[in-house]
Symmetry: C2
Subunit: 360 residues, 2 copies
């Protein structure tokens, strides 16, 4: 079990990672009541163990349907109404027990319910455990754009138990690993080299190795968000691979790819873009691309319309005045931030990866 510490404007919070991490919830006292937000399938499998570990036996959770469509303003309103119905007040606490959807929705509701109550992230997917549960970003989707509406509000605590990852489908598991690869590129040769060794043979059943993986990858996120909660500058680096990734997800209506899969394509494209922009030498680019590929097969991008993706890039939340902000990998452990990338290079990077003309 490991305790990582995130610094934040509100004073900071712990991230507890390891088998048995949920027990840390017992240490949270002084709340008038505690509520759990989760989704039915997950609760069916893990609810009993979670509520026992958390010291909340017999808890009756607030349920939202699994899947992205719950991350909406109407669902935020429903959850807030149910909290009120059940007597939640300003000193109540909400635990978001689930993956990115439950975490983002739960954080949004908690940060706005009666103008803000405390909440805990108890992430249950690899993506949430190494990335989305930390940093205090909350959001819901508006039809026009994913995560368009949200808040920055630090959780009170994050508890990540990797045992729960055993319930993930292989595809969802791989999807989360692409974010781990991103963290490897951002972090440096230590984590990157270790991932090159262990990723090809990683099994969801290898609990000890998974725990190490989550701790090491989560540490990267903790380090970045501790330095810059509002992502005015430093936090931008976490967007590596996401500029193309978000546009690809949006262009395909969020139906074809899991988030991590779109990020994987985004990573390949931005690696190639960095090469084309003369920022990254091909040997390093090859090594990065190989680690992305090592996670496993990706759904094809063959049919995705180039003009649509390129048009969507300027709508990225980091774009200002129509200028796209690119995070380009320069070497393992170093990225740069620039808006000065020729549009032709962007189109070419997309096209070469899409057509398989460049494979790293």
């Amino acid at each position: 079990m490991r305790r990582l510490r995130v610094k934040s404007s509100a004073g900071g919070y712990d991230v507890i990672v390891g088998r048995g991490a949920w027990r840390a919830l017992r240490g949270l006292r002084g709340y008038s009541s505690t509520f759990i937000l989760t989704e039915p399938g997950l609760w069916k499998h893990w609810g009993r163990r979670f509520s026992r570990d958390a010291g909340l036996p017999g808890a009756s959770p607030l349920l939202v349907p699994a899947g992205e469509s719950s991350k909406s303003l109407p669902w935020a309103g429903r959850v807030a109404s149910e909290l009120l119905e059940r007597g939640a007040d300003r000193r109540s606490m909400l635990i978001a027990f689930g993956g990115g959807v439950v975490g983002d929705l739960g954080g949004f509701v908690a940060s706005t319910y009666m103008r803000g109550i405390d909440y805990v992230q108890a992430p249950t997917t690899i993506l949430a455990q190494v990335d989305s549960s930390m940093g205090g970003k909350t959001a819901v989707n508006i039809r026009a754009m994913k995560n368009l509406v949200g808040t920055i509000c630090a959780p009170r605590l994050v508890v990540s138990d990797p045992r729960v990852l055993a319930s993930m489908t292989p595809r969802a598991f791989r999807s989360g690993l692409y974010e781990v690869v991103k963290h490897g590129i951002l972090s440096g040769p230590g984590l990157f080299g270790w991932l090159e060794k262990i990723l090809p043979g990683l099994r969801v059943s290898n609990a000890a190795l998974l725990e190490t993986l989550v701790v090491r990858a989560a540490q990267v996120k903790v380090d970045v968000v501790s330095r810059d909660e509002r992502e005015a500058a430093l936090r931008h680096v976490l967007n590596l691979g996401h500029t193309f990734g978000h546009a690809i997800e949006e262009a395909t209506g969020y139906r074809r790819y899991l988030h991590g899969e779109a990020v994987a394509w985004g990573l390949l494209m931005v690696i190639r873009l960095a090469e084309l922009a003369g920022r990254l030498d091909p040997a390093n680019g090859k090594r990065m691309a190989r680690l992305v590929r090592a996670v496993g097969p990706l759904p094809a991008v063959a049919g995705v319309r180039e003009e649509r993706v390129l048009g969507l890039l300027t709508r990225d939340k980091k774009a200002v005045g129509g200028k796209v902000l690119w995070i380009l990998p320069e070497r393992i452990g170093k990225v740069c931030e620039t808006s000065d990338v020729p549009r032709e290079a962007v189109a070419r990077a997309f096209r070469e990866v899409q057509r398989g003309e460049w494979n790293g």
Copy 2:
């Protein structure tokens, strides 16, 4: 023209009060784009002058229907979508030009659009100019409860031009003055005594006197919120009259009373409650009640169900664990905060005011 300064966690902001205050908007630079949120009737009367003064000639505002029903999650989603449609990015700015509804909705949208953009309050009602535009509280209503979902997010600037108050209906104008009376009770003999002199003869057309009134009443709010942005303690005093007031509004479905009118009844009831609790001597109570009555006639509370109102008190956002937090006036310029009030006294205060058995 007066410049008041609010201190806040984000560094503070100015409140400009006076004829011509909108011109201060010209000093805000560095935004990629500026948007105005308002309602059609107001814009028709004041849009040209506002956009000229603000240095935004020809501005095409985002419109929401007048009235409380626009302060909702669906409208927040629509406004966010329209902002995206029009190209708003993280460096854009939103001006909320309107009364409490537009201010609360605009603040909520701005504080959550792409996880937060800057916004300006340009309040156009007396209630908004002396109260709701300052302090950074934003909110939308959920069917279950008014202001259930919201944020605390300081505006970049507040610009209050009292000329616009000339467009208010007499009833809405009086409704706002009840909040001014509340500020008088909180502030002390200076403001209170001045209000006793000027309120009975105040006309909406007396621009110079109105300007002084807005400045003096706004200063009370500025002082309180500067000391306590998150209302953990000090800011609670602003709730004077609102505990009963909110319950009365809720019990009548927000249809019978304007907000200030419900607060006026709430003030009368809490003055009587303070007397019954032995916290306030009757001479002072009489003087406070007389100033409430001096504003003008109130819609009757005859038909409002006592059990319903008393039941709703525990749902107040300041209630914790079912205990109501009362702000009781002790004398002009001093209130106390207590949960230790017998339920019988609460019922009696409500009943005596409702039946006209106590009139101060």
